[in-house]
Symmetry: C2
Subunit: 640 residues, 2 copies
């Protein structure tokens, strides 16, 4: 077993340059395309007009074609009469000017005396209201230079200039080779569970879609086993078939079954193994038969970032195309984000417009978690020389969504409830301008986030044993002087989520102590944790008596998954989570789940839209249908 | 013949709203697509995960799978030995954790004592270095809400979550019906000239490309004659075939052969005829069988602006997709742009970074001229309530090209020479970051533009009869105190451009007077005009003796076209222009054509790139190949 050592580690800039220098500049050829289908393509030669436009002198207005000299005497008090059609011929915009005419009188300036005679009261000068030959385009003139990316309206100039076919750069052919014995084609998974030890192979589809975004043509091969010979054969086949770029995903690390580096070295030359980016470090750059062969890492976020930072710039350069850049906004960092000096980091974040400024919160780091990308709406780029970002620091966040949507994104944090997903769906049904981004930090974390202006809204269900009240005592304690609103979302059943059929014979909270039962807990600061501690105290049980008390999860669903997977026998959570995974449930208590928001956020369009949604009958019916909820006070303000 | 009267004129906002209100919200249905080809599509239902990810507990690191409890005693001074594989089983990242293990020790923390025994010096806690079931995605959770536009990485989440097919919105089917008896399919034009009175039909291809840009599916029908019955049949056929939106181009005005309004009214309802936008006023909105039918104007820029401002927002809304917006920059208006109050105007402009700020100059207005779009790099939007923009006013320009390119665009004005097109082509070959935008205002106009900071560079060939020098006397006179550079581009032949075979028997400048010869002049302020006036004076000819002296064109090519089309018998211009249109040429004088630039622009990357280009042998050879040029001083600085 080899250690995880990279022999040829490069910085991102070094890696990009190595690749460009090694890559012959002419590997992408040219091809003729019909002009009408050339939008988005890049010219590979200068394009000259073949026809002039207009191709003839034509009327620029509806009116009468005349000889200007015959109108010179026309005055308001002294009109001139012209014979139709001998002197004045009816003409419509765009029609050719007869050879013996040199001007057009606008129809608005004509008085018909009879069918055969008109009167005019002002003259026209020669060539007035006439579009002259070549006024727009002159045959032989340069329409577009080399390396021009054609816009839709450019197609109009091509066709008008008589160019119906032209040479453009080929679209680079990118072969993507998924490799790994543990991978299975997602389309081949039957039923509701994976074959043991198998993972769905999804990276190749992401890389293929990114390849198309860069204007190139992806070709995804079948999954290749972790076998150097099979991999070599796949790379060779790709190059034989005319691939301009080959991407192997994955096997790019330095583990015992990572063969990409070896395969590239055997077939050609290894330029770099390891790039100082995070995620994406285990990236390999090589050249085989004068074509770039890239070892792209296997973790989904690493695969994405590495491809975006290394392969996409290459694809753009090969086409002589300017890279598409993400829109960038100035945003304030919600909390300290440490980063390793020497590594260029690409953190995913959630940014929202809170209190008149953009605030960005990083989501968790895991490169293995595709949801860190799908839940995010921006990328936070931390340069290699930085040791991280300070709380409150202003940065430039790269938006993953349109700014208009980000402006109207409801930033929700605090405790999680499945109803929030329902709100998100209904919000986006209402208008594509709205969106909602959630992070789950527990009820106390949510109160603090609203207090610090890091979120518009927080879900909270904190029980106060002293007063028997939910949420209000905590708000009074921690949010003194800050004007806030508290809106009830629903009452919900909290209880023990247990395995189907209750094999351990659990009956109540009391059973968590003593018996051979493993519990899974929620993180401290969460409302459910507060509730558990209250219930344990009431039952006279100490934390040490509960096996698994220190094993913490951050959401109801994570607790349910822990039970489903056998990691735990029981956890405290909501009925909806148990039901979603077909687990059993022992009710313990009905609690109130409220939404806390600052008075300042109250007027945010997305909050107002949400308030409209939660007051509808349809919404309440759907909530009750999820099980374990009462909507008797949904949408009502709580007196503070 | 009807007058040009619009009975139902609407503002742009009214027009958009009328259309949206009239249009049933559900005309776009949904369709299932394979997840791996769903990037860019819009979900039509919420999407829930079918599988958890990871689907099993797996190693998050390469290392050894262990029971955490057996490692608790390990200390640096007091290592623990574990049997391989009984207690410590080799495992790679991503491999399933055996059911009897609950943690992974990183390979870096393992010392092999033998093949069957390892030593560790620190403990691992339960579930350390383990990716737990559902850590990323939990089966049943909401992956994406309704109306979510799928990004490439979202495809990863779908496939990982076991979703291989999903429902998305249909792509709207847009039928585009070109109409007009004067139109000819560009692909049917054979040879180098148009059939008499015919124009190439190019708008439908532009609208089709724009339709695709909006995520919809275009269908272009054959050209339909200006015949109400034929048009009705075409619209009916489109709707029968399932068109969601029908666009008739053109016949949308109120001329005698404009039938679109009548056709729409006969088949359904006319919502608006005329929209207060410029270009684009003759736009018709109607509904037929609950589908929008749009009369789109015929002038190419009107067609583009009307479609972009009215049809594209509709297409986005029908799909619940956020419109793509152009990048907007703050720019200073180079000169006064008058605008009619009550009309929302979309002027095309050229913007460049000059002296550290963006300066935008409008290009000419003609809606009939597609080159006003293709030569522009931005749109200047003037709201309806405005009477125009003042010189120096700051506005927001909508970029038609990437900002990176605009930043590196060389703004060139002054006198025109065909060599400038060659420079543009070579500049863009050098790097896709560069571009060049030219307007032609004559040599004097160019000097003034450089002086006012409206252009980086101006071509100038102003002869000073008193000193016999080119350019320098004018620069001393008009650019006192301003540090500038003057670089010689080439010497060139100016002469009389005359018809092929010289049918009028022209021999020299003297022949312009008296004889029955029509001349075409260049605009005053142009170097060629100065030269003409000098030559006439030397020959003792007064302006009044030259027929056509007051008929002005702005470029050498326009002069050549005037001669080619028979509008004039002769004009003064360069040999290259005569040669391009296969006309005859009588040399008059060799003149020097220089490039003037401010000292401030000298360091602009595009100027530096240009200087590099014009010093190459290849460039000079190409210039000489164009005919009538000497490159003996090309690239040399002129002493000022």
């Amino acid at each position: 077993m080899k250690r995880r050592i990279y022999l040829k580690m490069k910085s991102l800039e070094e890696a990009r340059n190595l690749l460009l220098e090694a890559c012959p500049s002419d590997i992408i050829g040219e091809e003729p395309v019909p002009a009408r289908h050339a939008a988005g393509r890049i010219t590979s030669r200068p394009v000259y007009a073949r026809l002039s436009s207009p191709g003839f002198h034509s009327a620029a207005m509806d009116g009468m074609a005349v000889r200007a000299a015959e109108t010179f005497d026309a005055r308001d008090q002294d009109p001139v009469c012209l014979k139709v059609p001998g002197q004045a011929l009816p003409i419509n915009t765009g029609q050719p000017l007869p050879p013996d005419r040199d001007a057009v009188i606008m129809i608005e300036h004509v008085t018909f005396l009879s069918e055969h005679e008109i009167e005019i009261r002002s003259p026209v000068y020669p060539w007035q209201n006439v579009r002259k030959v070549g006024e727009d385009i002159v045959a032989t003139e340069l329409l577009f230079p080399t390396n021009h990316q054609l816009e839709p309206y450019d197609i109009g100039a091509l066709l008008t200039g008589g160019v119906t076919e032209l040479y453009v750069r080929e679209r680079p052919r990118v072969w993507i080779i998924p490799t790994g014995c543990e991978l299975i084609n997602p389309e081949e998974i039957s039923g509701a569970s994976l074959p043991p030890g198998k993972s769905p192979e999804s990276n190749s589809a992401v890389l293929a879609a990114m390849t198309e975004q860069a204007g190139a043509l992806p070709h995804v091969t079948p999954i290749v086993d972790d076998d150097p010979e099979a991999l070599k054969a796949a790379v060779t086949e790709a190059l034989d078939a005319g691939a301009h770029v080959v991407v192997i995903n994955a096997g790019s690390s330095a583990g015992s079954r990572d063969f990409s580096a070896q395969v590239i070295e055997d077939l050609g030359a290894l330029l770099a193994h390891g790039v100082t980016i995070m995620p994406g470090k285990p990236t390999i750059l090589g050249m085989v038969r004068q074509r770039p062969v890239i070892g792209n890492p296997g973790y989904p976020v690493s695969s994405f970032i590495s491809f975006e930072q290394i392969v996409m710039p290459l694809l753009y350069r090969l086409q002589r195309r300017l890279p598409l850049k993400r829109h960038v906004i100035d945003a304030q960092v919600a909390r300290k984000i440490p980063s390793r000096s020497g590594m260029e980091e690409f953190r995913r974040g959630i940014v929202g417009s809170i209190g008149g400024k953009y605030v960005v919160t990083p989501v968790k780091k895991g490169a293995g978690s595709i949801s860190t990308l799908t839940r995010a709406n921006c990328i936070i780029h931390i340069p290699a020389h930085s040791e991280g970002l300070e709380e409150g620091e202003m940065i430039q966040a790269e938006l993953l969504r349109p700014e208009e949507e980000v402006l109207n994104t409801l930033i929700c944090t605090g405790s999680h409830d499945l109803i929030l997903d329902l709100i998100k769906d209904m919000l986006m049904r209402m208008s594509p301008h709205f969106n909602m981004a959630s992070t789950h930090v527990g009820s106390m974390g949510g109160i603090m986030a609203v207090k610090k202006g890091l979120a518009h809204m927080a879900g909270t269900h904190l029980f106060d044993p002293e007063t028997g009240l939910y949420n209000t005592p905590y708000i009074h304690r921690y949010m003194k002087d800050m004007p806030v609103r508290l809106i009830t979302l629903a009452y919900r059943q909290q209880g023990l989520i247990i395995q189907k059929g209750n094999p351990r014979g659990i009956g109540a909270i009391e059973d968590l102590a003593g018996k051979d039962i493993t519990f899974v807990n929620r993180q401290s600061g969460s409302g459910t944790r507060v509730l558990l501690d209250y219930c344990l105290a009431k039952a006279g049980i100490r934390a040490e008596q509960v096996r698994g008390y220190r094993s913490e999860e951050y959401t109801h669903m994570a607790v349910a998954v822990a039970v489903l997977s056998g990691k735990a026998d029981a956890g405290l959570g909501i009925l909806a989570a148990a039901r979603a995974l077909d687990l059993d449930f022992i009710p313990v208590v009905e609690e109130r789940y409220d939404l806390l928001m600052s008075e300042e956020s109250w007027s945010h369009p997305a909050i107002q839209a949400m308030m409209e949604i939660i007051s509808t009958k349809g919404f309440k019916e759907k909530v009750r249908g999820m099980g374990g909820y009462s909507t008797r006070d949904t949408g009502k303000g709580v007196h503070l």
